[in-house]
Symmetry: C2
Subunit: 320 residues, 2 copies
DNA sequence: TTGAAAGCGCTAACAG
DNA sequence: CTGTTAGCGCTTTCAA
């Protein structure tokens, strides 16, 4: 692979001039032309590695998400991408797979690779971004934030959403509302469950046996829904705290011939790729793309030197 | 950010020794301990950039896909990831968005960043991997291959699948079978349409007006399906060449109250997140994850120096 | 086993 | 406008 030196000697200029041509600095038209010709002849591609080493920062930002197979996160990724691309940054997607170990490795890579910044949808409350902070790399949390760090964050009002969803079920006349939420160490899971509690308590007593912690995936929805339905006195409706578990719950209901409204259902987050016109399901829409867009803008601000105190942006729960 | 030099001086050893400790080479137990202690104290993270520059290759592979919001590709990504991680490589996902410009930029980045290799699901037939080849970087094509390059490839038998799907519709008694396929410059789109032609021709004459090229996305499915249904003599069944357009087509059918089997439907690729038990739809399953796994293995072979002539692996069309 | 020193390819002073 | 030069932080001979 050709280097800047070979291009320089072929074009009869100095390496610095080649560098200048490729970075849009002032170079006489004639030399610029010669450089470009030589570069093409040698099929020269500048080494980003050397450039990054020298500059101590690259033009890429990392987006670390817990589940690449969840359309909520890929939609968020699109939002991030669109903003980043427009600003001349590339985005690399890293899938932590809800695993703290993998997440930590990716964050390490982000530091070691001198990435410009990181947008993190944390695998859990105790994700550790101290390495990034210590090295002064901008981080913004999105959807979920790691606890104990004072950083920019973009979220939605999970508790209010959970409350609203559950209340809708109560308004429809259901009386025993179950709740299927995510892992106990994930902020969005506990907050949405808190919303459920709020609404149920306002209507009577909370029965904690109707609360299930699952894994925010389709299978988690299956398992939790089955458990709920197999109780001696099963709930007559259920609030499911994310899109994928909503799919899982519906699959179980479908198998058992008890599709909504036979059993009431409310879901936090849009059901992915739904085919039918709106069924008898309450959906709290989630501005996935908008979360990504907002987080990316915040991050770019920081990259560009903004040093206000950390901000938390709470987006309204409707489609962007 | 601490460097290897600072660690060295704090530990009272040479930089070379620090390097050795972090690369698992022979160092006396005592020095190793001192180095580790110093590294922790300084919260040292090795610079991957410097390392890559020196080694002329990094431990990351790029996976370039045309649509990150398509569960087929994210499932494939999981397959790639699992194999790569196990071999000590990280995977970065790049979304070309079916755009040759973006794709080219990502391929450039892969070269410039000295990535170990690239797995590419090409944006179109004329994607250009000559840069990678010229620089001797391993590439493997997956799902779709760019034309004119003799490289490893992992695919499925698209034509046979299209034929099989269409034949199923004919067997169900439908007589006017439409086809909704992807962009004309995408291999999987044209091959699947060829399969449709094969089957229809075997049963009579092919009416090309029943063939629609769309964009492999939900909206493409909408548009094409509407056009087909609005024809003077609309098809009584349709073969849809990918999962997302299948969703779009079904949404239109649902709106018009003509869900299968009122209108026959066969889809190439599993419908994502389907809630109901199998409807009256023929599905040609696609081994998404397995494609990723296979491609990753091939790539790792090449990275490890395998220089057999390029291989093409055709996977059977069933779930992995 | 260990250290000294060279160099990966690039950019940014600094001179001219 | 252009060239010279000194590193960015790491790995790796080569000697000791």
């Amino acid at each position: 692979m050709a280097t800047i030196y070979e291009v320089a000697s072929m074009a009869g200029v100095s390496p610095a001039t080649v560098s200048r041509v490729f970075n849009g600095q002032n170079v006489s038209a004639d030399k610029a032309r010669r450089v470009r010709k030589a570069a093409k002849a040698l099929s020269f591609t500048p080494s980003r590695v050397a450039r990054t080493l020298r500059m101590r920062s690259s033009q890429v930002i990392a987006l670390v998400i817990p589940d690449i197979e969840n359309p909520f996160f890929t939609s968020m990724a699109r939002g991030v991408e669109d903003v980043a691309q427009a600003a001349g940054y590339s985005v690399v997607l890293c899938n932590s797979d809800e695993d703290h170990g993998k997440e930590a490795r990716y964050l390490d890579i982000a530091v070691g690779a001198d990435m410009a910044g990181v947008i993190l949808a944390a695998a859990g409350d105790n994700s550790d971004v101290s390495g990034l902070i210590a090295r002064n790399r901008p981080v913004v949390a999105v959807d979920r934030s790691p606890h104990g760090f004072d950083i920019d964050a973009v979220t939605v009002d999970n508790r209010a959403g959970g409350r609203e969803a559950t209340r809708a079920l109560l308004d429809q006349g259901f009386t025993r509302i179950g709740c299927v939420t995510g892992p106990g160490d994930v902020e969005t899971a506990t907050e949405r469950a808190d919303g459920w509690r709020d609404a149920v308590r306002a209507a009577g007593a909370v029965d904690e046996r109707y609360l299930r912690f699952a894994d925010f995936r389709v299978d988690g929805g299956h398992k939790a829904m089955r458990e709920l339905l197999d109780m001696p006195e099963p709930p007559d409706a259920v609030f499911v705290a994310n899109n994928l578990m909503g799919v899982g719950a519906l699959q179980v209901l479908s198998q058992r011939g008890a599709m909504p409204p036979a059993v009431g259902m409310a879901v936090f987050g849009d059901l992915p790729f739904a085919v039918m016109a709106p069924m008898a399901i309450t959906v709290i829409p989630l501005p996935a793309r908008h979360l990504g867009v907002t987080a990316a803008k915040l991050l770019l601000d920081r990259i560009n030197g903004d040093d206000q105190p950390p901000r938390t942006v709470v987006l309204r729960n409707h489609a962007s």
